[in-house]
Symmetry: C2
Subunit: 446 residues, 2 copies
């Protein structure tokens, strides 16, 4: 096999990059668990008829079949393209064994057969949280979900140095009610155009609304004016009222969004923005919607998003409303790792390399290593009884901070960064906490 | 959507079962890291021509294509069926950025389009460790790998209650040299028949060797006699010698296997067995081979296996020999979880449920919950300001041990198992360590 080439759209990390990803995943999982979310995983494949239900996304599905499928083997399967469709199926399939409201998190790869381009992947990692009720789900979960998300992002900022975020929130009822109050019927078509606001600007959106949807200039102007409203407090309500549009659904949406912003303003000041242009294009949310942008990296677009579904799933008898949020882990990390802005303090977990005097004494080194490991210290034994200088270079090339010398008596340990070498007992010596495991550090370009 | 049916061969776990799996995965990953293995992940797909190289396995591959693949889009992809083929490709692709010997672990799903049957899955989780060298790789790694594996299994036994294991080891050179010493040319064909020893017994294997391969009765008897040798120490060498077969490759194999068993006997007495019938059928190992059986569950067959490759990968210029081992995580856990022998002490991570007096005071409860979480205590806020009896039932149904009452002053916490209720400060109260996170416990049928 000649040297293989990378496959476009399928990012893979080197060991030091993977350590940063693992660090981020530990932060996400532990935050989700602190908030009472239980982990589940679903299979990678779903029946094609279930995957293809979701409108325009069907062209991006990867179809899966057995190489030697039997005649009449009609099971059409596809790789899941998000974690929401499989979760909805999981809830229906296992409803009898779950207790509702059910809080779950799910960290898995998803696949989309897209044309690869900057920031688009064919395989990428998502980390989702959802709260789903049976029959009903209280409104206050719509503020709980972004509070969990902001807790996680705050830790990613403090521990990893990911930029802080602003979570943008809107409510579909607000937009839809506003459009209906203007006498517009096809509100979804308006939402799709408003979704381009950041890309093409307000004037171009207004023009699309007139030319493509046949709106009057005055209607289009009001839609664009609504989209331009963004406040960190409840003052957006007055600004919407000033536009003079009235509809019962608009009132519902205003009230619901105000309730979310009011709590967030007190709990996490400055982190949430009522942003009335957030539309979440083709996703079929029915109430609150979320998008999240990194401060200083707004051009990347939303790195995490979600919203409320009136019916995440339904089996005819029971309806399961839900509210959820999805972290685009690959979308967030791959560019940062690709630019080398973050890396690990070493490329191996190993904290101590036990040197080997000669091959006959390798078993002594094995036992020393085991004594260190039993106390939680990641340890390797040198692969070859080379000259000590060469064994130290083995450690140095991997960033292993300590090399251990001795045959279980009169042992010494050397910090190869400072050169300091001290007597040590494998049952007692402990490295400084910051050396025990690899840390995430700013890369050379950071 | 009506209630979906489980898909045969694609096991999915309920939240409490998933917690046991996560516990097992934490044990495996932390053990691998203690031994200096770095984590990597590879993409789920590989080019079909690479996957199909591995002989007879090709009929089990799942082919992947875009639903709306463009004309002339000839990229044939398949889901990986193990983690060795993708790892070999990863080593070649990234060799310039890796340091050798390279030690990696990899925990990912793999897919095989098999006919589902007891203990066979179409999607299952593997946890692999490999050490790979550039050009050469020292022999002592052949004993290091099973020592890491036995360290992990010992922790799975102590922490989770998985039965203890015996790791069976053989060497391909030993068998092949022995067969060549008997004048047999097609040694691979003999290995394939010997691989059935446990299933069909020695007499049936001897018959296959005679009828299918045309061996003389005496040759067949010696092959079966070799396969019957199993010792926990080096005494297997004498027993092989007694069979009176000679070949240089046999000598190499005997020496190599004796070296592995000698170290293991001293380091982990009673845990390793030189078992000369271990063949690893169609896998193309070239030296040491491993299989692992649970004591008392020998019928399950090997739950973890591996071996040495002279050339894990080669790009024409460089050859990369390796030795590795693969834990069949799903194969090990799914039957145990399916029988309910292990489960989690609760179905949610939550340790404390903060009760809500009335919806107006929900924000106070949110702040109490945050104070507990800031000290690492998994906490939920009750979803509804029901009567306290109902809120306690919410906790009880999920196995949440503590319910918190109060509005930030004169707070009290109740252990709902004992009924004991005491005054508590959200900035100071700490639950007993065994209540903090869900634990793995014997199930009702265990």
């Amino acid at each position: 096999m000649s040297r293989p080439k990378p496959m476009s759209g399928f990012p893979e990390f080197l060991p030091a990059e993977r350590m940063v990803e693992l660090h981020a995943l530990r932060i996400l999982s532990s935050t989700f668990e602190l908030h009472g979310f239980a982990s589940i995983e679903t299979r990678a494949v779903e029946p094609m008829d279930q995957l293809a239900r979701k409108g325009e996304i069907d062209k991006e599905i990867y179809v899966v079949r057995r190489l030697h499928a039997a005649e009449g083997d009609t099971d059409e399967l596809g790789l899941h393209f998000d974690l929401t469709v499989p979760f909805a199926r999981y809830v229906l399939e296992h409803a009898g064994h779950l207790v509702f409201p059910f809080r779950r998190y799910q960290v898995q790869k998803v696949w989309r057969g897209e044309r690869p381009q900057e920031g688009r992947y064919r395989e990428f990692l998502q980390a989702d949280i959802d709260i789903v009720g049976q029959g009903t789900l209280a409104d206050h979960h719509d503020v709980e979900i972004p509070l969990v998300a902001l807790d996680a992002f705050e830790k990613l900022h403090v521990d990893l140095g990911i930029p802080p975020v602003v979570l943008h929130v809107n409510n579909r009822k607000l937009s839809e009610g506003f459009y209906r109050g203007l006498g517009i019927e096809d509100t979804a078509a308006v939402l799709q155009r408003v979704d381009k606001y950041d890309k093409i600007g307000p004037d171009a959106v207004a023009e699309l609304l007139v030319t493509e949807l046949g709106l009057e200039t005055g209607q289009a102007a009001k839609c664009v004016a609504l989209a331009g409203i963004a406040t960190t407090d409840e003052s957006f309500v007055d600004r919407v009222r000033e536009l003079g549009v009235e509809h019962a659904l608009l009132d519902q949406g205003l009230e619901a969004l105000a309730a979310v912003v009011r709590v967030a303003e007190r709990q996490v000041p400055g982190r949430m923005l009522a942003d009335l242009k957030i539309a979440r294009g083709l996703d079929y949310y029915t109430g609150t919607v979320y998008e999240t942008v990194l401060q200083g990296a707004e051009k990347m677009g939303s790195v995490a998003s979600g919203g409320r579904y009136d019916a995440l799933a339904s089996d005819g008898k029971n309806t399961f409303p839900g509210v959820g949020y999805s972290f685009g882990v690959t979308r967030l990390l791959a560019p940062i790792l690709g630019r080398g802005e973050l890396t690990a303090s070493r490329s191996v977990p190993t904290c101590v390399l036990v040197a080997v005097d000669n091959e006959e004494s390798r078993e002594v080194a094995l036992r020393t290593a085991d004594r260190l490991r039993r106390r939680g210290i990641p340890t390797e034994v040198a692969p070859k009884a080379d000259k000590f200088g060469k064994q130290i270079r083995y450690a140095d090339r991997r960033g292993i901070p300590y090399v251990w010398f001795g045959a279980g008596e009169n042992d010494e340990v050397k910090d190869i960064r400072s050169g300091e070498q001290v007597g040590a007992d494998a049952d007692a010596w402990t490295p400084p906490a910051e050396d025990l495991f690899p840390r995430t550090v700013r890369g050379p370009l950071g």
